[in-house]
C-alpha cells in the first residue's frame, strides 16, 4: 500500500520511495527512507494535503506526493 492510504493516527513503515523525480528526491532528503516509521497526524480541511510525523518533526505532503511512498502498517 502507499502512504496516502493509511488512516489518521496509524503508523506505517516506509518500504520504498518510487520514482527519481524532484518529488521523490525531496522526500528522501526530508528523511523518508525505507525502514523509517511515519504517522498520519491529520488532514487539511479539504482532505488534502496531509500532516505526518516522521523523524520527530511534522511534514506536510499532498496526496499525490504521498502516493510515491510505499509503506506497510506496523
Amino acid at each position: 500500500m502507499t502512504l496516502n492510504q493509511i488512516i489518521k493516527g496509524q503508523i506505517a513503515r516506509i518500504t520504498q520511495i518510487n520514482g527519481e523525480d524532484a518529488v521523490s528526491i525531496r522526500l528522501m532528503e526530508m528523511g523518508l527512507i525505507d525502514g523509517e516509521e511515519i504517522q498520519l497526524l491529520g488532514k487539511a480541511p479539504l482532505g488534502d494535503p496531509l500532516e505526518f510525523a516522521v523523524r520527530g518533526y511534522r511534514l506536510s505532503l499532498r496526496l499525490n506526493e504521498a502516493k510515491c511512498v510505499e509503506v506497510e502498517i506496523v
Binding site: 518529488v23 497526524l41 506536510s60
Partner: protein, 761 residues
Amino acid sequence: MINSPAVSQKKMTIAIIGNPNTGKSTLFNHLSGGHAHIGNFPGVTVEKKVGSVTWDGRNIDLVDLPGTYSLAPRSIDEMVAVDVLLGRQKEVPLPDAIVCIADASNLERNLYLFSQILDLSIPVVLVLNMCDLARSRGIEIDAGALSQKLNLPVVCTEAHHGKGVKELKAEILRVDVGTKHQPLSLFPDAFYFEREQLSEKLQTDEEGIPPDFLVDRLLLDVGGYVESYFENHTHNGLMDDLRQARSRLKEAGYAVPAIEARLRYGWSRDLLKDVIEHPKEHQVTNSDRIDRWLTHRVFGFLFFFVLMFFVFQSVFTWAGPAMELIEAGQGIVDGTVESLISPGPLRSLVVDGVVAGVGGVLIFLPQIVILYFFIAVLEDSGYMARAAFIMDRLMRSLGLSGKSFIPLMSSFACAVPGIMATRVIENRHERLVTILVAPLMSCSARWPVYTLFIAAFIPNIAYLSLAGSPLVTLQGLVLFAMSSIGALVAIPVAWFLKRICFKGDVAPFVMELPGYKWPSPRNVILRVYNRAKSFVVKAGTLIFMTSIIIWAAGYFPGDHSEQFQIQERIETVDSSLEELETQIAATEESDQAALRELQSQKELLSGEQAELNEKQNQVSGQLVESSFLGQAGHLIAPVVKPLGWDWKIGVGVIASFPAREVIISTLGTIYSLGGDIGEDDQGLIGSIRASTWPDGSKVFNVPVAISIMVFFALCAQCAATLMVIRRETNSWLWPVISFTYMTTLAYVGAFISYQVGMLFI
C-alpha cells in the same frame, strides 16, 4: 591556532546556512547586530544579505544564505548557495568558514544538510539552535561528545533570547583560516571512481577540473540544475556518459538518487547514537495539540478566514490615517515651497514633480509596514506554513500552491507589499506566476476611479431594502463586479502561465510544519524595517523618476508665462483677502462705516479671485492639451476610439501611468477644474457628464464608463508595482511582460465592454 597579525588583518568571510525554520535569520540578526546590506544576487531572485562586523579588531563579512534542506540545486536560484560555498559566485569571496545552523529539536534531519556541507572541505562551526525547545521536548544532547565525534566546534544557542551568541562569536574567531578539511566521503569507492572518470571528461582549458562537490551533484541529482549546467558548458556526449555511470552504480547496488539519502541519514543516525537522548517515539507535542484545532475541518477554516479578514482589514483601516498624514505632510511641504519660490518652472518641478514623486513613494509605506508586520508575525510563529497547508487544495486549482494565497490576498489592498510577500514561495516558477497575477487583484488605488464613474453614470437603484435602508444597490453591484473582475481574470491567466509557459515544472509541496512559538519582537521589527527600507531605496528611486518624467511630459513644451502671471496674481489676491479678513475681525462692530468699506473691498477681491481661478483652470487645460502629454493623447485617440474614449480620456490614461488614481486629477485639469480634485467632486462629475464629441454627441454614457472602469481594473497603470516586480525578479523582462499582458487584457476588456454595452443602448 594561527594568529599572526598578517592573518588577522585579512577580512574573513563567513557563510551562514541551515534548514528553513531553524531560527537562522534571528541568529544572523544577533551576529550582525541588526545591520545588514540587502541586495540581490545577479540574474536570480535570491536575496543577498551581508552583515559586516568587527569582532576583536577583525573585519568579518557574514553572508546569510537562503534556508535550504539540501545542497542539491534544482534551479538557478538554489544554485546560488552552492556557488557561494564553492567560491564560484563572483560577488562573494570563497568563505573562510561555514556556520551551519541546525534545529536541536530535530537534529537528525538537520544533519543531512550538514553532512553535505562537510563534503566541501571548508572549516565548519555547527550551531544547535533552539536548545531550550529541544529540552522541553525531553531531548538531551551532549554537545561536547558531538563535537568530539565530529572533531569540530559545536555551539548550543537559544537565538530568540540571544543565548549562546557570544560563545558562537568566539568559536568563529577561533576558526583556522585557510585549513582544508578532509571531506566526509560517505560514498563507496565505486562512486568515487565514477566521479573521477567524469571529472576528467569535464575538464576544460579555461576552468580546469570542476570541484569534486559539483561532480558529485552531477552524478547524484537526477534532473537537477547541475546536469543542465554541465550539459550547456561541456562536450556533447556528457549525458550518455552520465547515464552509463549511473546505470553502472545501480548494477553495483548503489542506485542514485536513493543512495545519498540512505548514506547520509545512516551517518546522521550513527553519529547521534550515543550523543542524543530521545523521549519515546510518536510523542504528542503542544504544537500538535494546537494543530488539531488550527487545521481542524471546520474550526481551522473559520480561524483562518477570521484571521485573514483581520489582517486585510487592518491593512486597509490602519494604513488610512497614516496615508492621510503623508498626504497632509505633502500639503504642508507644497505650501512651504509655494511661499519660498515664486510661480515658475522651478516651483512646478519641485511641487508637481519632486514632492509629488516623493509622496507617491511614501504613500505605499503604511501598507507595506502593516502587511509586513503581520507576515513576519505569522511566519515567526509558524502559522504561515499552516495557512499554506489549509489553502493548498483551493490554490492548486489555479495551478498554484497554498503559499501563493497570502501574497494574492494582500494584493487586494496593494500589489506592492503583495509582490514583496511572494518571497515565501521557494519555487521560482510558482513565484513568478504569483507575481504576474498579483497586480490583477483589485487594489485600493482602483477605488477612486470606480467611485467617480459609478457616482457619475450608474443609476442609484435599490433592489433589496431593510427598514428603509438599501441593502443591494446597482451601484454596489457594479462596484463589486469591478473589484472581482481582476481576480476572475487571474484564474485563466495563472492557468495559462502555469500550463503553457512554465510547463513541466511540478513544484513539490513537501513542506515542514514547524512547531508553534512566540514570534521574536526583535526579528519582526528588523524584518519590517528591512523590507520598508529596501522598498524606499530600490523601488522608490525608480517610482520617483517615473513621476518626474510624467511631470515633464505634461509641462513641456508649452509657454507657461501667462499661467505663472495668473498664479502670482491669485496669490496676491489670496493674501489681500486674508489681510481683509483679519482687519474685519479686528474692527469694532460699532464702526459700521469702516466695516461696510472693508466688506465691499472683500466682495471685489472675491469676484476677482473667482475669475482668476477660472482663467487659471482654462489656461492649465490648454497647456496640458498642447503639452507632450496632450499631443500623445491626440496621437492615441484613434486607438482608444473603439473603446468609446476621446483624446481627453487618452491623456488621463497616459498620465496615470505612475499611479491609477492620477487619472482623476488629470481629468480635473483637462476639464479645466484645476488639479486638486477628489473622486466625489460634483464639478468633475458635472463636467464629464456634459463633455461632448465635436459633433455634439455626449462622450460619456454607461458603456464608456464601464469601459474605463474595466480598463483600470485590468491595466498595469502603477509604476510602483512594475518597479517592485523589477526589484523582486531582478530583471526588466518581467515588468515588461506584466505591463504588456495587462494592458492588452485591459484594452480587450474595455473594447468588449464598450461594444457589447452599445448594443443595449
